[in-house]
Amino acid sequence: MDDLSRYQRRRHALYGWMLLSPALILLSLFAFIPSITTLCASLMSRGTARRPSVFAGLENYADLFADPVFATVVVNNLLYAAVTVPVSVGLALVMALWANARIPARGLVRCAYFTPVMLPMVAAANLWLFFYTPGLGVIDSITGLFGIAPVNWLGQPQTALWAVMAVTVWKESGFFMIFYLAALQTIPPDLKEAAGIEGAGRLTYARRVLLPLLMPTTLFIFVNALINSVKLIDHLFILTKGGPDNASKLVLYWIWEMAFAYFDSPHAAALTILVLLLLGGVAVIQFRVLEKRIHYR
């Protein structure tokens, strides 16, 4: 009897491994192995034709912490995440609620919200560049109608990062809206009716019924938004290139600069590993929290 169940367990495990293997192989090839190579690279010094690379231990990491740009970039990214994540998640919920409500031209509205997701970033960022042009640009033309003076959105350190944040929120909210829309479909409509009968207004319904029901989705989108706040930097290349004077430089953009503009792979690798550790920590936390909160049947 024991043998039989052990045999079954082993067959069970083998089956699991087989199912997992194609994904694992690809992940190893394109994610794990390169990451390990990156880790090794972060421990070596920068090699040139004249001075070959030598083992440098944690020196690259120390250099990073000593660099004043490091502090600027980290603060920028933290601020950037602190604003874009809640705003895009909140907006996504509002959009989903509206896209789900009984309003005329609902299909067009949904399409409008999803449009930014479908435009390639090259095109979208260039369009926004012309939105932000001082005086001439679309934004300043409209505010000019109300007599407001033109603002150099991308060209001053005070507004550059916020201008970039706006583009991010614009691009991401529609993306997250889809998740909320899907989740909203699973909420039975009689709940709303029942709340109405009990005398609860829309806001109370939203707060007491809708939000708790949507919590798993919210958590999930939240972590996604957090990851994207580190990962998505394509618009920076076109909008500000991290300027003026590092005012809008984000971590991944700096990594890119170090690796491909400065030809400095070891420092880029070190920063990559740091970011990986930080986000990895966030992932583990999210995984644990989600597991506890979601009731699996």
Partner: protein
């Protein structure tokens, strides 16, 4: 159910078959070259390059060339680096002229002295404008051959000049004249002058510095003079155009939209790359002129753009073929063709003697200004560790122009950073 599965399997199989590349038949007798090139001024220019390549291949039937459009200068650099590190076959590329120091340091490129053999080749090596060769020299050798080169010129709106009572055929030739003209032109919501400070701030700053008599870097790429009083004065002057003389808007002026601002009449004068010439010509609905940049202690303007580089890991036969290709692409006829199509400068005096460029220059004399300015042109900012040093300078310029730091403090900080970076090379 089974049908669905089989259909899905079939579809996947077909897709994968369509996706994997067919085995390429290797032709041993032909030399195969791969070349990456960037497109930095907009337009359907890949077709022009393709045409040139075809012309080359018909003259050299034993060579096939794969010219790969690789994005902008940054993308092309990434591409070249990745290819070389992974052992992909690539023999030559057009890369940023200022990448020379880094490419040499990484041991990726060959000096042309090692490849030119015949007297004809050596003469060809000397046939380019000296100003354009300045960025190619590292440690006494030539590492890059000019291909798409530009310089900064001043575009100005002749109609606005006329309206302000200025002579449209006499653009300002000195700083003082420019400020005076700018003051007359700044009215009704229009500015007199715009000099972009995003995109390539260090490049624009070189103009001010050289016009105030100082080159920002030494010829050997080991020293920079950011904190020289003349350089600080140059940056203060740039800042004063917005704060004191009020002929320029405050803050950083965006590179990517400046041409639009000029073409729509938001500014009467703009300093910009000659690479914009064709676009401005097509878009401006007004009479516009192109002038050399105004002088102060002396005239001057930096060059810019891309050079041909030869990569080390190429066989002898491939090197010879590459040299032939480069000679073809930089021959006067092709240089003229490329200059007319893009607005880049003709790279050799001979190119301006071709019928095509002569005719073009006659009907469109603005195109010749950049060439005339080559007499006083200087190399684009480039040193060892060039990207980091350049970044320090660009940040200083932007800090000063946005009022975050005084020009003196900003440049002194940049000098400290640069010295630290360059110390190992001295």
């Amino acid at each position: 159910m089974k049908k669905i599965l089989t259909a899905a399997a079939l579809a996947t199989g077909l897709m994968t078959a369509a996706a994997t590349p067919a085995a390429a038949a290797a032709d041993q007798s032909k030399t195969e070259l791969t070349m990456y090139y960037p497109i930095s001024v907009g337009g359907p220019l890949t077709k022009v390059i393709d045409g040139m390549i075809e012309g080359f291949q018909s003259e050299h039937p034993d060579v096939t060339v794969k010219a790969v459009y690789a994005g902008n200068y940054d993308d092309t650099r990434v591409r070249a680096l990745s290819a070389l590190k992974s052992g992909e076959k690539v023999q030559l590329s057009v890369l940023f002229s200022i990448d020379a120091y880094d490419l040499v340091e990484q041991g990726l490129v060959l000096p042309f002295e090692d490849v030119v053999k015949t007297d004809e080749d050596k003469a060809w090596l000397k046939s380019f404008y000296p100003a354009l060769m300045a960025n190619s020299h590292v440690d006494g050798k030539t590492w890059g051959i000019p291909f798409q080169r530009s310089t900064i010129v001043m575009y100005y709106n002749k109609d606005m000049f006329r309206a302000a009572g200025l002579d449209p055929e006499k653009p300002p030739a000195t700083w003082d004249e420019m400020v005076a003209a700018g003051k007359k032109l700044t009215k009704d919501g229009h500015y007199g002058l715009m000099v972009p400070s995003t995109g390539y701030p260090y490049w624009m700053f070189q103009c001010f510095a050289i016009q105030n008599g100082k080159e920002l870097m030494s010829a050997d790429g080991r020293h920079v003079s950011f904190d020289d009083p003349a350089v600080i004065d140059a940056l203060s002057f740039w800042r004063s155009l917005a704060t004191e003389h009020k002929i320029m808007p405050e803050g950083a002026i965006e590179w990517g939209t400046l041409r639009q601002a000029f073409v729509q009449g938001q500014t009467a004068m703009m300093w910009h790359t000659t690479g914009n010439l064709t676009a401005v010509k097509n878009e401006a609905k007004f009479d516009f002129g192109v002038a050399e940049l105004p002088a102060h202690k002396q005239p001057g303007s930096p060059t810019g753009g891309g050079n041909f580089y030869l990569f080390k890991n190429a066989s002898a036969k491939e090197r010879d073929a590459s040299l032939a290709l480069i000679r073809y692409m930089t021959a006067p006829e092709r240089a003229a063709q490329w200059s007319i199509a893009t607005g880049y400068v003709g790279i050799s005096p001979a190119s301006y003697e071709t019928d095509a460029l002569k005719a073009y220059g006659r009907e469109f004399p603005q195109a010749l200004v950049a060439r005339d300015q080559l007499k006083v042109a200087i190399a684009e900012f480039s040193t060892w560790e060039t990207a980091r040093v350049r970044e320090a300078l660009s940040n200083a310029v932007q800090a000063a122009l946005t009022g975050r730091q005084s020009p003196e403090a900003a440049l002194k900080a940049a000098q400290t950073t640069a010295d630290k970076l360059l110390k190992p090379y001295r």
